[in-house]
């Protein structure tokens, strides 16, 4: 095959602007979760190390004792509530900030997908916030809202439907043909196996 033919073929199957699928979005989400977890862990380590080295803990103990009747080290409940709240704020800010400013989080940028409104524009701030709360709703019923991407014709999850957004490929996307061919072959073989098994079962039931 000539180089020009390859280029032509690549252009013919250019999926840029098409709706991104479940796997791409999941990988992007996992990557974002990794970034968020690492950042939170590093920040909490940095804060506790600073409290230790700068000898701030005794002062905090005194302040906490005067305010709540317990020292800082003893008020585990308060500390865990504060940590959770700060983490939640950070997670919301992370997603909303990136969706609003660039239309894609670092994870989505790696996989090459972007969130756009139905008109194809970047999300306004309120829509980004709404989409995040859509995330919570999608996750409520065992993540059914996320799995909706697999069956929806426009690959929209519940959060996408709530905020009226699409997730599209932002690069000259094309499937890896070799990988696809290999995987399809395996899949059809497995499909045949399942079919044979079902037929055998049916025959067994009839007899």
């Amino acid at each position: 095959m000539r180089t020009s033919d390859v280029e032509e073929l690549k252009n013919a199957i250019n999926l840029k602007g098409h709706y991104a699928g479940f796997t791409s979005r999941s990988i992007a989400f996992i990557f974002d979760l990794v970034i968020i977890s690492v950042t939170i862990m590093f920040t909490s380590w940095l804060i506790s190390a600073s409290l230790e080295t700068l000898h701030i803990k005794p002062f905090l103990n005194v302040i906490f004792y005067n305010l709540f009747g317990k020292s800082f080290d003893e008020s585990i409940f308060f500390r865990s509530i504060t940590t959770s709240f700060v983490s939640l704020i950070f997670v919301i800010s992370y997603f909303v900030f990136f969706w609003f400013t660039v239309g894609q989080t670092p994870g989505k940028a790696l996989v090459g997908i972007r969130i756009v409104t139905i008109e194809g524009n970047r999300l306004p701030f309120w829509k980004a916030v709404l989409r995040y709360f859509g995330y919570i709703i999608s996750g409520l019923f065992l993540g059914l809202g996320f799995f909706w991407i697999l069956v929806d014709d426009k690959r929209m999850g519940w959060h996408d439907k709530i905020a009226n957004t699409f997730v599209v490929y932002a690069w000259d996307a094309r499937p890896d043909e070799t990988f696809l061919a290999k995987a399809t072959k395996e899949l059809s073989a497995r499909h045949k196996l399942i079919e044979n098994f079902t037929i055998e079962q049916k025959n067994g039931d009839n007899t």
Binding site: H18, G21, F22, S24, V151, V168, D176, L180, L187
Partner: protein, 242 residues
């Protein structure tokens, strides 16, 4: 089994031939470039190119006819010289042994005579002094050997380090490494993206198959407006970078 002297001769002749071939090819290349030609001249195969054709243990190669007789004559003479030296050394060794065996019984009465005792003592002292000197030289040799090796290693490593430092500080090399790294990273990212796109369709089809839903005949098409917007953004971005 070949003697070590023969192996050294072969090594020397091999190095000379290899160097000569390399130099000839390089001179040809320079000559072509000096004449203003862009194409690389057809080069004569070197020993490196030939080594795949020559089985170990076989001492001739396919270029036997191509070389001039004179060069082969010189090579043959070199090996003859090596043989002569080898034979000469062996003969001298044998002869000295024979002379020693022959002269020992004749010289023994003179050597053990009482009149010659002062000379003998002097000679023995001389021999002892010689032995001591030899031992000292051997010891010095041992020390110098170790020292020289360490020095050579040190010099080699220093040279290597400074060469690497020079290469690392060279902006062109730095640029080359950076561009290579970036292109490798780009390739990896593209590969990951391609695979995820493939997996998007594959997993969807698999789940649809499990739930006995019809497979998607074609991709869901996004609104044309959306595609147009994305392409426009790309063009604007490109113009911006240019």
């Amino acid at each position: 089994m070949p003697s070590s002297l023969r192996s050294i001769t072969r090594l020397l002749i091999g190095s000379v031939l290899l160097g000569k071939d390399g130099l000839e090819n390089k001179i040809k290349e320079w000559d072509y470039y000096a004449q203003g030609s862009d194409s690389v001249p057809e080069q004569e195969p070197t020993f490196d190119d030939e080594e795949n054709n020559v089985s170990p243990g076989i001492e001739f190669n396919t270029r036997l006819d191509e070389r001039s007789d004179l060069s082969y004559l010189l090579i043959g003479l070199a090996f003859k010289l090596q043989e002569n030296i080898d034979n000469g050394v062996r003969k001298a060794e044998k002869m000295s042994g024979n002379v020693e065996n022959l002269a020992k019984p004749i010289l023994k009465p003179i050597y053990s005579s009482r009149f010659l005792k002062p000379f003998r003592t002097g000679f023995d002292n001389l021999v002892a002094r010689g032995e001591a000197e030899v031992n000292r030289l051997v010891k010095e040799g041992q020390t110098e050997d170790a020292y020289s090796r360490t020095l050579a290693k040190e010099a080699f490593h220093e040279r290597l380090d400074s060469s690497l430092d020079y290469l690392a500080s060279e902006p062109k090399i730095e640029e080359l490494i950076q561009s290579q790294s970036v292109s490798i990273l780009d390739e990896i990212i593209e590969e990951v993206r391609e695979r995820t796109v493939s997996a998007d369709y594959l997993i969807e089809d698999f789940l649809r198959m499990i739930f006995r839903r019809p497979l998607r005949a074609e991709l869901p098409t996004p609104p044309l407006e959306l595609k147009r917007l994305l392409i426009t953004t790309r063009i604007v971005k490109r113009r911006g970078t240019n």
